[in-house]
Amino acid sequence: MNILAGIGRAVLGLLADIGRLTAFTGRTLAACVSPPIYGRLIAIQVLRIGYFSLPVVGLTAFFTGGALALQIYLGGNRYGAEAIVPQIVVLGITRELGPVIAGLMVAGRVAAAIAAEIGTMKVSEQIDALTTLATNPMKYLVVPRLVAAVLSMPILVGIADSIGVFGGYVVSTQSLGFTGSIYLKNTVDFATRQDINSGLIKAAVFGFIIALMGCYHGFNSKGGAQGVGAATTAAVVSSSILILAANYLLTSILFHT
């Protein structure tokens, strides 16, 4: 009986979490479309979420592109198909690795920072203080972060795509014996608009997930330093898992497989 009770508790807990998250998402979306909209705060968050993520996203994209080129070359070599490197690199980066790598890096950086900041505001009563100052915390804290993340992520991924392809280009031309101009021509000829757009759509969804998870866990943090720490961890873990799950879902929808 105890086992059943345990399973029941876990299921009820999960359902309660899903319900809370759904209600939070609903309140957030409602706050997005009603005035006031704080443009200045959105601009600040674009800077913090998007611009300051550029170095980490750029570096990881570069190395990922390089490793991808190397693996495709080695794998293709078994069938005498090593010339396909530029085509597969651009496909892999724009469709999958660009958005996923950028999403995971931004989740680590931004979801954690959002959860820690909002969580600290929660436990030090700053969120209650906002309410007493006739300011809606959803509009003041959540909406700017959400809008900024959804706007920034596609731009970040666009840059990550370029740097990832460049990483593959550097490895291919420096150590795999490709000619630069031919590599680039193959890349440009092969990539379609849909390849790139699918990655950018994914990026916007990942941005939504990252900001939502950061805000949700921050708002629901309890207790003191420990609670904020737990919220930060939960924000990173849940946004990473949701990003990978959403990525699969979006791939299957966008490419009708």
Binding site: S34, M121, S124, E125, Q126, D128, A129, T131, T132, L133, A134, T135, N136, Y140
Partner: protein, 255 residues
């Protein structure tokens, strides 16, 4: 005298734990009521219920005769503009400089122009004895007493009709505590507000109130004019105001 705030049979539970068990309380317009009581007796929950941060399970809360118990969202905004609050830990926004903290309710809540709001903020800071150079510091650079003063300036910035004080002297040395008490009395007189404070500091309670109510196990067990607190004839009140370990109030060691 008319009632500014009225709580009628307010109950609030968290899971199995009953925190408010039918609070009845009336605060007359222009009066200063202090609610005393031990830690964990529901003082903060009561204030948060009036502010709408928490929703009571049962009962009614009236502000100026208007039922605000279940008022939420945009409908609540006009009510919120009547309130100012000084939080226990000051709860200043650490991302903003001091003046923007004080001006926050004016800029965000009421849409005042930043330059004008800044002038008001500097005036209010002067009222709590802080000079203009403090206005440009960040809250983290201030001592606890100064943070409380900034919190007080923020609470009175929009000249609210009602001000709440949550443990205004907790964590301050006795002299700074008295300075804050004096400031509360003078600023409240200045804006003519109705106030509701919660504290367990009796010196503070005597100084800033004209009425005192005691909360115990989620109910108001005594209330009356401050001058009567020493002659309440209530053993619970006597034990509390004299700070005795022995008496009818048993401290639960386990929460």
């Amino acid at each position: 005298m008319t009632a500014k705030i009225q709580l009628i049979g307010v109950k609030k539970r968290f899971g199995p734990k009953v925190v408010l068990d039918g609070i009845d309380l009336t605060i007359e317009k222009g009066s200063s009521l202090v609610v005393i009581g031990g830690s964990g007796t529901g003082k903060s929950v009561m204030i948060k219920s009036v502010l709408g941060i928490l929703t009571p399970d049962e009962g009614t809360i009236l502000v100026d005769g208007q039922d605000v118990t279940h008022l939420r969202g945009a409908a609540r905004d006009p009510v919120m503009k009547k309130f100012g609050m000084l939080f226990q830990g000051a709860a200043l926004f650490d991302s903003l400089p001091v003046w923007e903290n004080v001006a926050f309710g004016l800029i965000q809540g009421r849409g005042m122009a930043r330059a004008k709001a800044k002038d008001v903020a500097i005036q209010k800071l002067a009222k709590v004895g802080l000079s203009e150079d403090v206005a440009y510091l960040s809250p983290a650079e201030l001592s606890g007493g100064m943070q409380k003063r900034v919190g007080l300036a923020r609470a009175i910035a929009a000249d609210p009709e009602i001000i709440f004080f949550d443990e205004p002297t907790t964590g301050l040395d006795p002299i700074m505590a008295d300075v804050i008490n004096e400031l509360i009395v003078s600023t409240v007189k200045d804006v003519g507000a109705t106030t509701l404070s919660i504290t367990h500091d009796m010196a503070s309670a005597r100084k800033i109130s004209d009425h005192i109510a005691m909360i115990y196990q989620g109910r108001i067990i005594w209330s009356g004019p401050t001058s009567q607190i020493d002659h309440s004839g209530n053993p619970y009140v006597d034990q509390f105001i004299h700070g005795r370990a022995e008496g009818p109030i048993k401290m639960a060691v386990k929460a």
